[in-house]
Point group: C2
Chain length 518, copies 2
């Protein structure tokens, strides 16, 4: 089906600009050329030479010491570090023995002919050098200075390139349509707390959406077939290191698709867009049911980079003649579970065991206790020097067959959606929806990487009657607030499903100017 | 510099889906193949045949009349129009004479073997046929039904493709970095009214930005070199047909660039991404000063598709011996101007002239009067049958050398920025900034297409002292609210400039569910 031609390109980063080359670009092959560079003074020494920096690297600039260049020498030696200059000169080979092998431009230097100081820099709050450690607070206050570091320059560029590859895969290879959905919307019932935006009508508010969920379903009903968006979403839940009030997700929805279809799509997407430097990805990703995940790992997002699975040792213990154990295990639904810690005797100290015991006690009677004990044991083992998890390993995992509904925490006799009310029931469990909804599995799927959830989605309900039944009879919600969606489902909604990948925070660009004001 | 290989592709729109082909895809070459199609019933006739539709087109489905297919026949004939079905069958040639040349799939039909109704459709509020006219209100209420029309499907797809081409040009060809800037920001002084978002701290608010202007300047100060973003912007100014509270702009900023650099970048961008169906674009675009535009066309966004320039006839009139004219022209700054209407005698009726006279009177003493009279005359000529403006013509135009400051409307002795306070003065006029700021031209440029402004930008002030002088001494503003930007300019800000193209509204996706609520 595909008519492809492999192609490659080097973006022209000097087009339209007042330079001929970047500071990371010149090599021995350029020797003899006249070049113009623009950049920041990274270092300078007594009017003899300076190191010029831009986003691509560093170049050494030699200042001739003869009378004819005295003006240039004076100009450049008066410019403080981080001043912005433009220099024109000839690319020359460094004197033998003075080459710098650690520097990509280390074979050459530029003998400056003319120079211009484009902007002076006043005394800096910290030095722009990768090896200088600064406090997080200072980095945030002067975010634009921190951005000049090679690490942040790399991060911002890598993010841009990965998202561009994702767009190519979705839009150019698979015919997805990038649609921008509104962010000034009406309130969605349930879910996270939403930001409200007062409108021009007194007492009326817009709401900033947590996700374009309803919009993308309406697009499918509109026959769009394949939608994606790099979507800005909002949650008014305060800032945490892993969660910000605004964040971005790769939002995808398609029609006439099943769970496996979305999974293969996402595997292909990640394979195509994954940065080469992070190694290749193997597909298809393994899959695990929610039930298995809970039983073996004590969590719905298992870190499968290491074993130490949870084992049921009830039967073994029952055979032992220990009174209090027998007693406990005689209660209905009682089980005894264990995690076998490899070489634990050697690696774990008494204080480690005490901290595990304390953690176990504090989580008494919570089913996730064993899952977090497993992770804590792993941390302790690694702190003690065991190599348990390869930091370069990529363990992708689909977790499937979640329950469709869960008992409400505040009132366990009532049910709430495990994810959201638009999730379709598992095809084998559709009849249970009407007889025993607590037993219904859903067509929700989570994508887990190394123990972190990096995406989640589902096949949606496309039948109006079923959607109304879920809202009114199972969830006992007022379906009136979703009447527009219920009505839309009645006008020929196709089967559809999707996923949201992310949430990629835009944290690289937090700025201290983001202070609230009256 | 470029290593290119031309490539082309056909996106695989059937990947991961429960169909083999779309409804717009099958041709004579497919005859004999078994195919599975999914789509909406566009038309059906008594269980004999139906026309199936999806985003790509229409396919005729023949229902065999033999006993073996009675189940399929019954199923399909019970499905109302706009129900969603999946059919599997054999592609066959249409009987001779029954080919439909107007239909891309008109050579074939699919003889259905098995079928499934995926969703039934209840009675529609209007028919989904391009030739059926519906009221705007009804189209908005059932936006998802309206989206099924071939026109809206085309619009959404074209927009997605054009934006994708822009991304390729900027990111892949010219090394721009796509950076997402925050939308929960602090208030910007001046400019349009901003939406406020109450925060979790009582009495403190975020503000939704009108543009990422400050962020992109800080990114340049951070050494990012080349930034772009398809940026969502907000203006709390109520809805108008050409302006919505939220809109999108292609937002661009680069370092070490001058006005001509940005102009050539944008010309290349439009040339690369312009849809083929709208014809090629010739570059460079012509340029006109603000002064010329006002003198010749009476507006700063001239429609140059036709002549009828404004002429100064003061000298001619002064030579005539007409008392009241001589009298009027004796006042200082008095001029007489005229528009010559080609073949006006033939095309314009008395009532047309009366309406022009009335319009002139109502705009008495406004300098834009002649500009709008020129456009009104053109409208009248075209209404009378003259072909004046080729609807396919693309007249791009740069308007440059705007004044940097304008007298405030409410108090003409004070000055305000003609665009925004970050705009740099024209290099030739820098000294005038300190002596006579009213005379300073700016490095602002507007891009005009057929008389509409489609973009605007400028070279920015990169010198902290100059920026402070403009804010404090010329505009008499409190520079404290911009202290973060002023400080940033002191730490080695590179010369930089940019542009915003758009505002592309997301109007294709207005939904009636966007009703405000308490």
């Amino acid at each position: 089906r595909f008519l492809w031609c492999f192609f490659f390109y080097i973006p022209d980063v000097n087009s339209f600009a007042a330079r001929t080359n970047t500071c990371g670009e010149l090599r021995a092959a350029h020797i003899g050329q006249e070049v113009t560079l623009c950049g920041w003074i990274q270092y300078q020494r007594q009017g003899l030479f300076l190191v010029l920096r831009d986003f691509q690297g560093l170049t050494q600039i030699i200042i001739p010491q003869d009378e004819a260049h005295s003006h240039v020498r004076k100009l450049l030696s008066n410019a403080p570090v981080e001043s912005v200059v433009r220099v024109t000169g000839i690319v020359s080979s460094r004197p033998p023995g003075q080459e710098n092998l650690k520097m990509p431009t280390g074979d050459i230097e530029v003998k400056v002919e003319t120079a211009e100081v484009l902007n002076f820099c006043k005394k800096l709050p910290f030095e722009i050098k990768d090896f200088i450690k600064k406090s997080e607070a200072l980095r945030m206050q002067y975010r634009y200075l921190d951005l000049r570091s090679s690490q942040l320059q790399h991060n911002l560029r890598l993010r841009s390139q990965v998202v561009m590859r994702m767009r190519e895969y979705l839009c150019n290879h698979h015919g997805f349509v990038d649609v921008e959905t509104p962010t000034l919307f009406k309130r969605t019932p349930g879910g996270a707390k939403e930001f409200l935006v007062p409108s021009r009508e007194v007492g009326k508010f817009y709401s900033l959406p947590q996700s374009p969920q309803q919009f993308k379903q309406l697009l499918m009903i509109g026959g769009l077939d394949r939608y994606f968006q790099v979507a800005r979403c909002y949650r008014d839940e305060g800032s945490r290191p892993d969660r910000q009030p605004e964040f971005t997700q790769i939002d995808i929805e398609m029609s006439f698709v099943d769970q496996a279809g979305i999974q293969r799509l996402i595997e292909g997407l990640l394979q195509y867009s994954w940065p080469e430097e992070r190694g290749p990805i193997t597909t298809p990703f393994p899959s695990m049911t929610y039930e298995e995940a809970l039983a073996d790992y004590g969590t719905d997002k298992p870190d499968t980079r290491f074993g130490m699975k949870i084992m049921d040792i009830s039967d073994t213990l029952r055979r032992l003649d220990i009174g209090f154990v027998q007693n406990v295990l005689s209660y209905p639904h009682s089980t005894a579970k264990a995690i076998c810690i490899p070489r634990g005797v050697r690696y774990l100290k008494n204080k480690d065991l005490e901290s595990l015991k304390a953690a176990a006690k504090s989580q008494f009677n919570q089913c996730s206790a064993l899952g977090s004990l497993r992770l804590e044991s792993a941390d302790l083992l690694e702190a003690a020097g065991m190599v348990l998890r390869d930091p370069a390993a990529l363990h992708f995992l689909w977790v499937v067959d979640f329950p469709l509904f869960l008992p409400k925490e505040e009132n366990p006799s009532e049910l709430e959606s495990a994810h959201h009310p638009f999730t379709a029931p598992h095809p084998s469990d559709t009849n249970l929806l009407y007889s025993d909804p607590t037993k219904v599995r859903s067509q929700h799927y989570d994508l887990v990487l190394n123990g972190s959830e990096i995406g989640g989605g589902s096949i949606r309900i496309h039948n109006a009657e079923q959607q109304r039944f879920v809202l009114e009879k199972v969830l006992k919600e007022d379906s009136e607030v979703l009447s527009h969606l219920l009505e839309a489902l009645e006008f020929g909604a196709p089967p559809h499903g999707g996923i949201a990948l992310g949430a990629i925070t835009s944290s690289e660009f937090l700025l201290v100017v983001l202070v609230l004001q009256n």
